[in-house]
């Protein structure tokens, strides 16, 4: 139970500790109520982007899995993160959004079985399976499966990052010492059951209501896997 509370508390504590350095920041929309009415699910086409990249990763139980095994005919949301990330509008935002999605979708037993959330660390040195356990055990009783992943080495991770164009830059001080932060652009990928990327969300677009709408669009009978079959009357 302590681990569960730790996980739930983690986001706001990390975020509040850092807020003073973001005085020129605009808080990302994903932290708040969506400020517009999103288009109705199933009424729009999600473009089909190139196939999602495959590669081997390690879960919090130290099991080696391929990403394609994890996609497993489910609709997948994949984000890249590192657990010591302190950017309010970075990894903590994605984790918070996934948490909200998990809470909302778990109320729908049919929908929840078709969805998987994956958070893949790009800091394998620090984010070991044991560290990721702290996160995974906080989510394990929900209907929507959420797995925390890492890699056995930067060499195995690099092709995956390249495939998703998830660029990372380790930051160093003036003396060349690594300061523990990794600059990156927040990206979350929506991957359909055929392993195609169907949407990419960054800070300004990442909101649980929008992501859930897109998931429902992929499953909506008015679409064929997210492509609108018949043009609406208007």
């Amino acid at each position: 139970m302590f681990k569960k509370i730790l996980f739930i508390c983690l986001l706001p504590l990390v975020a509040s500790a850092q807020e003073t350095i973001y005085d020129s920041f605009v808080l990302a929309p994903g932290w708040t109520k969506l400020s517009f009415i999103p288009p109705e699910s199933g009424t729009y086409t999600l473009p089909t982007y190139p196939k999602a990249t495959n590669g081997n990763v390690i879960n919090h139980k130290s099991e080696v899995k391929s990403l394609y095994q994890l996609y497993d005919n489910k609709i997948t949301l994949l984000n890249f993160m590192y657990t010591t990330c302190t950017d309010i509008n970075g990894c903590p935002l994605a984790t918070a959004v996934f948490h909200k999605i998990q809470q909302k979708v778990s109320k729908d037993p049919v929908l929840s079985k078709k969805i998987r959330l994956l958070s893949l660390s790009f800091d394998p040195k620090n984010d070991t399976p044991d560290v990721l356990k702290l996160y995974a055990t906080g989510t394990d009783k929900q209907l929507v499966d959420w797995q925390f992943l890492t890699s056995s080495s930067p060499e195995l991770l690099d092709p995956i990052l390249r495939g998703y164009q998830q660029r990372i830059v380790k930051e160093y001080d003036e003396n060349g010492n690594y300061i523990g932060s990794i600059s990156h652009i927040l990206r979350v990928f929506l991957i359909d059951q055929e392993k195609n990327v169907r949407n990419i969300y960054s800070v300004s677009f990442l909101h649980p209501d929008l992501l859930i709408n897109d998931i429902k669009t992929l499953l909506d009978p008015k679409t064929k896997n997210g492509t609108v079959i018949a043009r609406s009357a208007n």
Binding site: P12, V26, P29, F36, R167, I185, S202
Partner: protein, 453 residues
């Protein structure tokens, strides 16, 4: 216990939001980048100038020119290199990918898009890839203009089509690695694609594209087709039929679904679109080239509308407003007028009532302008289109890059580069570069630029 955890989480989240949601302020912009893209908030290191090749000048090819603009650099004020692309294509606008690693430089004649790697070595961009199948892949769209970053992909506004080479066109989406994704046609009278025509016109023309993600809105403007923009300007002005074929519309789109929602009458070729930065300022500006008006595109009571809010110079003299730039405090709008070589600053504190507060002659046929994020530096270039620039021959034709400081409401000249003397060509759009975007430092020891997060 579940309720307790939920309550605890809610309390902590509420406390966090109460602290974090303090009023925020952005200090100026790099004028027209995508929201949330990394910005250079201090001194930029380089200006990349997408430059048209000019017959009789240097290698006559389009090129990306790199100028050192950091006063701490020993190369300050000089061209430090260029990359020629092998021909003339009517180089025009350019835009970074969302990770700011690549610069997509579009061309209006051949419809090629040149993708430059600007992250490996910011002082020496390298041609990374050329998209040569834009017309075929997009289903006949011609003249890629704005290359606007969306997450992991680029939204490109077309100017024309390969059926009649007129102004009907579309938005075209590509992935960041250069793979075609989709084409979204501009609404026109024969097919509004579900949009509502609010006025008399639905011309289907295109020019600029900008987005306000927080309102799920994308906005496009309208110029003219290949037949007109590739025609000699004198000939065009004398062709009354051709002069009727300019865009007169702005379209508001649903950004998420990529569907056009409303078509507005904005007569006289609305060109650049710049959206406000303030988190509650749900509006954008555009200016009309032929009618010399400032237009506000704004949301009121949940509905988007347009309104003419100011006049630029004397419209009867056709000053021809071209590039515009909004300051990040949303208080001022810079407007260049090509025909009289002036830059003008409008007070837009009241966005419904734009008032001119400053003018300065920059030089004949001034066109593009870029201001730094902190608003302290402004850069200008000449050149509009290859066949529209004043054709007095390469020796007499002013083709310049000029750098100014902006302090206490006054421009202070710093340096200029004569693109004819330097045998470079006709300078057009500018984008900023900095080592610190990529956690790098210049080898010459210059202080690195400060970044936003």
């Amino acid at each position: 216990m579940k309720k307790l955890i939920s309550t605890l989480y809610g309390m902590l989240m509420s406390a966090f939001l109460a602290v974090a949601l303090v009023p925020t302020q952005a200090f100026s912009d790099e004028t027209c980048m995508s929201p949330y893209m990394a910005k250079i908030v201090g001194q930029e290191d380089y200006v990349y100038v997408w430059t048209l090749g000019q017959v009789g000048v240097g290698d006559e090819q389009d090129k990306l020119v790199t100028i050192a603009v950091n006063p701490n650099s020993p190369h300050y004020g000089n061209v430090i290199g260029h990359v020629s692309v092998g021909g003339r294509n009517e180089a025009h606008h350019s835009g970074f990918t969302d990770d700011r690693h690549y610069l997509w430089a579009a061309t209006l004649d051949t419809s090629k898009i040149f993708i430059f790697d600007v992250h490996t070595n910011p002082n020496k961009p390298k041609l990374h890839k050329v998209i040569t199948n834009f017309v075929k892949a997009s289903g006949g769209i011609v003249g890629p203009h704005t290359t606007y970053a969306l997450p992991g992909r680029m939204m490109i506004s077309g100017l024309s089509n390969n059926q009649d080479f007129g102004g009907r066109t579309a938005l075209v989406e590509y992935t960041n690695d250069g793979t075609y994704v989709a084409t979204y046609h501009m609404p026109h009278d024969e097919n509004l694609y579900g949009a509502t025509k609010t006025g008399q016109i639905a011309d289907g023309y295109g020019y600029d594209v900008r987005a306000l993600p927080r309102r799920n809105v994308m906005i496009t403007s309208s110029f003219t087709g290949w037949n007109n923009y590739m025609m000699n300007l004198g000939k065009l002005m004398g062709d009354s039929d051709a002069m009727k074929r300019f865009g007169n519309t702005v379209v508001v789109w649903d950004l998420h679904s990529r569907k056009p929602k409303k078509v507005f009458d904005v007569p006289g070729a609305p060109l650049e679109i710049r959206c406000a930065w303030g988190s509650q300022n749900n509006y954008c500006f555009t200016t009309t080239a032929l009618t010399s008006q400032i237009w506000l595109i704004y949301e009121k009571d949940g509905e988007w509308q347009t309104e003419s809010v100011g006049t630029i110079g004397d419209p009867a003299k056709i000053p021809l407003p071209v590039d515009i730039s909004i300051t990040a405090d949303d208080k001022h709008l810079w407007v260049n007028t090509w025909n009289d070589g002036m830059t003008r600053v409008f007070d837009i504190s009241d966005p419904h009532n734009a008032k001119e507060v400053y003018t300065k002659v920059i030089g004949d046929q001034v066109n593009m302008l870029s201001q730094s994020w902190d608003g302290k530096r402004v850069y200008f270039t000449s050149s509009l289109l290859a066949n529209w620039d004043k054709a007095d021959g390469p020796e007499k034709m002013p083709q310049f890059f000029k750098a100014y400081d902006y302090k206490d409401g006054e421009l202070q000249f710093k340096f200029a580069i004569d693109f004819a003397t330097e045998k470079l060509g006709m300078p057009h759009q500018m984008r900023f570069g900095a080592y610190s975007l990529y956690a790098k430092s210049p080898k010459d020891g210059a202080k690195v630029a400060e970044l936003s997060k």
